[in-house]
Symmetry: C2
Subunit: 219 residues, 2 copies
């Protein structure tokens, strides 16, 4: 079900291009997945396609948006207005996808009171009030790693039940709370790992050309 957002984006792209109807094959290409997988995924939501024709792009987009819950908009709190937190707070693409920055929190007096995209940074102590006031259920953690756990604890304590964590730390939460992690270093390290294998393959089999090496290395 983690692929639904990808399909949603592919559908939006097709709508922008003026496409009214698309086959599972078309969608699969646009979303970068196998067409059988895509059909099976969509069949979970119900029979929204027409055999011999394909899917009504607009209609399917709405159905997926509804399934994900994007017919409402989700207020989000961001904790930690450093480099990354500011970039997120300024990010326009946020609102166009059903999310709204409803609260910004920090503990640094230099950050508190500043304004990003029309929202003023407040002290973390005001978290519970803001969560209540704006009915926030999603929190984003962009603090340094060492304080991520305690910030997560306060988010949970204030009633937040979903957390997106950018800090390089494993955070644990009570059951019933979802955590997702975005970790730049890990992504880069995975790339570095493959890079190293590529160069090693080249060293071990200098006769092989790049295409063959690619096949050896492919996951």
């Amino acid at each position: 079900m983690a692929r639904l957002p990808v399909y949603l984006r592919a559908l939006t792209l097709l709508i922008e291009r003026g496409v009214a109807t698309a086959s599972s094959e078309d969608l699969a290409v646009a979303a970068g997945v196998n067409s059988a997988k895509l059909r099976k995924d969509l069949s979970y939501l119900g029979s929204y396609g027409t055999r011999g024709v394909g899917y009504d792009v607009e209609y399917l987009r709405y159905q997926i948006a509804r399934e994900i819950g994007l017919t409402q908009d989700w207020p989000v709190a961001i904790v930690g207005l450093g480099n990354l937190g500011q970039a997120l707070a300024n990010y326009a693409g946020f609102g166009t996808r059903g999310f709204r920055v409803a609260a910004l929190l920090d503990v640094d007096p230099d950050r508190i009171g500043r304004d990003f995209g029309g929202v003023v940074v407040r002290h973390l102590d005001e978290l519970a009030d803001l969560v209540d006031e704006h009915d926030i259920s999603i929190g984003v953690v962009t603090t340094p790693g060492p304080v991520a756990q305690q910030v997560a604890d306060r988010l949970v304590g204030s009633g937040v039940t979903s957390i997106l964590n950018f800090a390089p730390a494993v955070i644990t939460v009570p059951s019933g709370v979802d955590v997702r992690k975005v970790d730049l270093s890990i992504e880069l390290q995975i790339l570095a790992y493959h890079e190293q294998r590529k160069s090693m393959a080249g060293a071990l089999h200098p006769g092989l050309d790049i295409d063959v090496v690619a096949q050896v290395v492919a996951p």
Copy 2:
């Protein structure tokens, strides 16, 4: 093998705490995984543990770092110095993990020439020269989605063989080139999906308390 970086971070944390030896159970808790899985993963690298004792933290950390390829440092190019690109360029945690920002590229004359963390932004046309000069094999894409594909093409054309893509677009590359995607919107949408299910479960079974709901909803 995508878990090796997580183990690496857990080990680094333990070293900072002065721990010299850790069992697979300790490591599993620190990394947030199952201990059997962790042991199986580590056994791939070789037998670096001692039965009845556990793993030498320092030694294991080095072995994993070597496996990933972090004994060398990896020069990285960042394309698109907007909100996000600037945050990445300023990010200190970059260098401490074996990566180095070697080149910054943009096409906006207002950005070109500016300095982030000691590196000057250059025009995208200079990409190939910079890749050659600094022996860059990893590129980071932080441009708007619509130009992500053409930027990726230029990266590949310049000799980059690994791409980390932050733009909300599916990019396709020749075989032999690795692409990883970091997509904020998708992460938030997955959280929203689970949020919606939580609130629906509450509406359908108003008698259930939050803990029971949590079990129903858990993946």
